[in-house]
């Protein structure tokens, strides 16, 4: 055992490159095919190493985009980043309680996914999910309000950062890995009700080692469920590097008979392509597929983690300066002549103003009324006659 451990460390050291050798993780390597039209869809080509595949063909590299969609996506990414930065500040002002996990650096994944899916598709994830709640029908006010524990919160101030839900985003779950069988269940229900929708059951590289993830893979393959298992690999599960937690860090290959795609999770266009591809795969009755996004979290695991003891500052700095998904998209937009640097700055300003206004609105929302403590334990009208408070005379009668 000891010798094995030594051997492992040796291998890990030898493989020091933070990303698998062949997958490309630049945020700005997609190229324009002909001219970029301002009104019509135009063709672009993803970098040839944007994807790797296991037991299936990789998505093709050609895709069409429009100016409007790229600007919309840019604005969404800018809003999401600004929102997460505001959450960071509010946390530091002690206005946000408990746990708070930010997705700064991972915006291409959430925004890219949402822009390739319809509201009928399902997305379920764990606790780093503020962007999904906002992008799938929620609002920045509702999200920030929830973090602040206010009435306007998306979960009425009862869930907090980790527990946020919308009509087309099924949470927001706090127990690492538990959302994966729940996601398989959403896919099971879609198949049962014969709805042609895809379910994206998401987890991180850390959660990927939970037994119930493999239990879910097995049932999904056995029953041919329309489920995409998404490993959002940001390289660290809390402070444990993927190489130190997983005997196989090629997460897209871990489904045994289930095929898998690995995707550059820093290029929003590659994310969109991979999501279109996997959605087609599952709704066409091909059964489940794994999708690994190789991405990077700029901040610590949560607000209490500076994120510097288990990785170098240089590594973080290098990712921020050379692989940033928002700057990558900005470069496409500017180089393809779709908008000027000034136009982009204007979008940035709008995003900042939108988020700042939302933060103020959320702050103005009152704390929940005390009797709301007793609602939603059971479905309204089916509660017990009463519930007990802290002592025998504190009784809430329904």
């Amino acid at each position: 055992m000891a010798s094995l451990a030594r051997l492992r460390t040796g291998i890990a050291r030898a493989r020091k490159i933070p990303f698998p050798r062949t997958l490309h993780t630049a945020a700005d390597s997609t190229v324009l095919q002909d001219d970029a039209s301002h009104s019509e869809p135009f063709a672009v080509k993803l970098h040839e190493e944007s994807f790797k595949s296991y037991r299936t063909d990789a998505p093709t590299l050609d895709m069409t985009v429009t100016k409007d969609s790229l600007l919309k996506i840019y604005k969404e990414m800018a809003v999401i980043r600004r929102m997460e930065q505001s959450a960071d500040a509010l946390y530091k002002q002690k206005l946000i309680r408990g746990f708070c996990h930010l997705a700064i650096g991972q915006e291409a994944v959430s925004v890219g996914m949402v822009n390739s899916l319809t509201p009928d598709d399902n997305i379920i994830s764990s606790y780093r999910t503020h962007p999904f709640a906002v992008l799938r029908g929620g609002s920045v006010v509702g999200l920030i309000g929830e973090l602040l524990g206010r009435q306007c919160g998306i979960s009425k101030g009862k869930g907090g950062s980790m527990h946020v839900f919308t009509e087309s985003f099924q949470g927001g779950h706090g127990i690492v890995g538990a959302q994966v069988p729940l996601g398989a269940g959403l896919a099971f229900a879609a198949k049962y009700m014969e709805k042609p929708v895809a379910t994206y059951a998401m987890y991180g590289d850390g959660a990927s080692n939970q037994g119930q993830v493999f239990e879910s893979y097995n049932m999904a393959k056995l029953w041919n469920l329309p489920c995409v298992f998404v490993c959002e690999n940001n390289k660290y599960g809390m402070g444990t590097a993927a190489e130190r937690s997983s005997s196989n860090t090629q997460y897209y290959t871990r489904g045994d008979l289930i095929p898998g795609i690995q995707c550059n999770g820093m290029d929003v266009l590659a994310v969109m392509k991979a999501v279109q591809h996997t959605k087609d795969w599952v709704v066409n009755g091909n059964g489940p597929i794994l999708l690994e996004f190789v991405t990077y979290r700029y901040g610590g695991h949560s607000m209490s983690d500076p994120g510097t003891t288990y990785r170098t500052r240089d590594e973080v700095q290098r990712m921020r300066s050379t692989h940033d998904p928002i700057r990558g998209l900005q470069r496409y937009i500017e180089e393809w002549g779709l908008a000027s640097e000034e136009d982009m700055k204007k979008l940035d300003k709008e995003a900042k103003a939108d988020v700042d206004a939302a933060v103020e609105e959320a702050k103005a929302s009152p704390f929940p009324e005390e009797d709301k403590m007793w609602t939603d334990i059971y479905v309204k009208g089916t509660e017990p006659p009463f519930m007990r408070g802290r002592e025998r005379e504190e009784i809430h009668v329904y």
Binding site: N122, I124, G153, I154, S155, K156, G157, K158, G159, H163, F165, T166, Q170, G171, G172, H173, G174, I175, A178, V180, P181, L182, G183, A184, G185, L186, A187, F188, A189, A190, Y192, M193, G211, Q212, E215, S216, N218, M219, L222, W223, T375, D376, I377, Y378, V379, K380, T382, P384, P385, M387, R392
Partner: protein, 370 residues
């Protein structure tokens, strides 16, 4: 794995062999006792099966999922015949993967289906308890009322016969402590049919605790209980036997033991009132309080461990209420012993309440020593 195979295959046979004489006599007594009121009798197993079938006919969204529920017809045959009637889409055999299928069923409930998730026994549900407690019970609250979870987790609970510690445990107190869950622990065939139907129709997650030793027991069924619309309210107990001297509260198998004890007590001139709890959560404390106000004495009987149990909770709630002033004796608890369930037949018998110990304690509550 080997334990499991041995358990599911042989346990019912072993049970029958061990229990046959005592149980058959009790069963006959029960049926005879009610024979004049009804011509229908049904085993608990058939009552559960009827409830499942009726609810599956009533609502396409109801489906059964669990280990061996379809082709094997259920480890305890509760789901017998359902696959033939409804097909494998609605009666789903799972791999041995409790956490996985409990989570999958919960996710399906989030999406609007009404899963009935069978555990081969609740002992195996410990592998899945996070999904029951954290995912099923709490999501409605944490989502501010957004995501409902209409699911039933069901299966045999409590000590069986001769299966030792890992397969003999009562989880009523475990699930009973969780806000967001409803917990049902039925005794008779009527209880089982009416409450399982209610559980399936309930929009909240319901933990439905059956008892392996009752599956084969026949009970009388009223005309009303035979109907497709027979639903019992979750959260209400039933006074099985009226009396004025001492209140005995029990759930599941212990209702039968308490009724036997009441019969013995009657021979000595003691009129015991026996309350069948039916639901653990919500707990119908009002009915218990009213009975205590009448009898002034309370004995709580359960098959679970003594510490932090159903009996402890009822005792605490009575002490906290105005019924305390009506007590003429300390509340008594009769429970399983505070030991991992032993295998040997004599030790096992000594670990669970039986009629003699219940009558002894009831008499102690009455300050009678003979």
């Amino acid at each position: 794995m080997s334990t499991r195979v041995a358990f599911s295959r042989f346990a019912p046979a072993v049970t029958r062999a061990h229990r046959a004489p005592a149980f058959a006599a009790r069963r006959a007594a029960l049926v005879r006792g009610y024979a004049s009121q009804s011509e229908h009798t049904l085993t608990v197993r058939d009552a559960l099966n009827a409830a499942l079938e009726e609810e599956m006919l009533r609502d396409e969204k109801v489906f059964v999922i669990g280990e061996e529920v379809a082709r094997y017809n259920g480890a305890y045959k509760v789901t017998k015949g359902l696959m033939d009637k409804f097909g494998e889409k609605r009666v789903v055999d799972t791999p041995i993967t409790e956490m996985g299928f409990a989570g999958l069923a919960t996710g399906a409930a989030f999406a609007g289906l009404r899963p009935v998730c069978e555990f081969m026994t609740f002992n195996f549900a410990m592998q899945a308890i996070d999904q029951i407690v954290n995912s099923a019970a709490k999501t409605l609250y944490m989502s501010g009322g957004f995501l409902t979870c209409p699911i039933v987790f069901r299966g045999p609970n409590g000590a069986a016969s001769g299966v030792a510690a890992q397969h003999s445990q009562d989880y009523a107190a475990w699930y009973g402590s969780i806000p967001g869950l409803k917990v049902v622990s039925p005794w008779s065939a009527e209880d089982c049919k009416g409450l399982l139907k209610a559980a399936i129709r309930d929009p909240n997650p319901v933990v439905f605790l059956e008892n392996e030793m009752l599956y084969g027991v026949s009970f009388p069924m009223s005309q009303e209980a035979m109907s497709d619309d027979f639903v019992l309210p979750i959260g209400k107990c039933k006074i099985e036997r009226e009396g004025s001297d001492v209140t005995i509260v029990a759930h599941s198998l212990m209702v039968a033991r308490s009724l036997e004890a009441a019969e013995e007590l009657a021979k000595e001139g003691v009129k015991a009132e026996v309350i069948n709890l039916r639901s653990i959560r919500p707990l119908d404390i009002e009915t218990i309080k009213n009975s205590v106000k009448k009898t002034n004495r309370l004995v709580v009987v359960e098959g679970g461990f003594p510490a932090f149990g159903v009996g402890s909770e009822i005792c605490a709630q009575i002490v906290e209420s105005e019924a305390f002033d009506y007590l003429d004796a300390p509340v008594e608890r009769v429970t399983g012993a505070d030991v991992p369930t032993p295998y040997a037949i004599n030790l096992e018998a000594h670990a669970f309440p039986d009629a003699p110990v219940i009558s002894k304690v009831a008499k102690r509550a009455l300050y009678r020593t003979n």
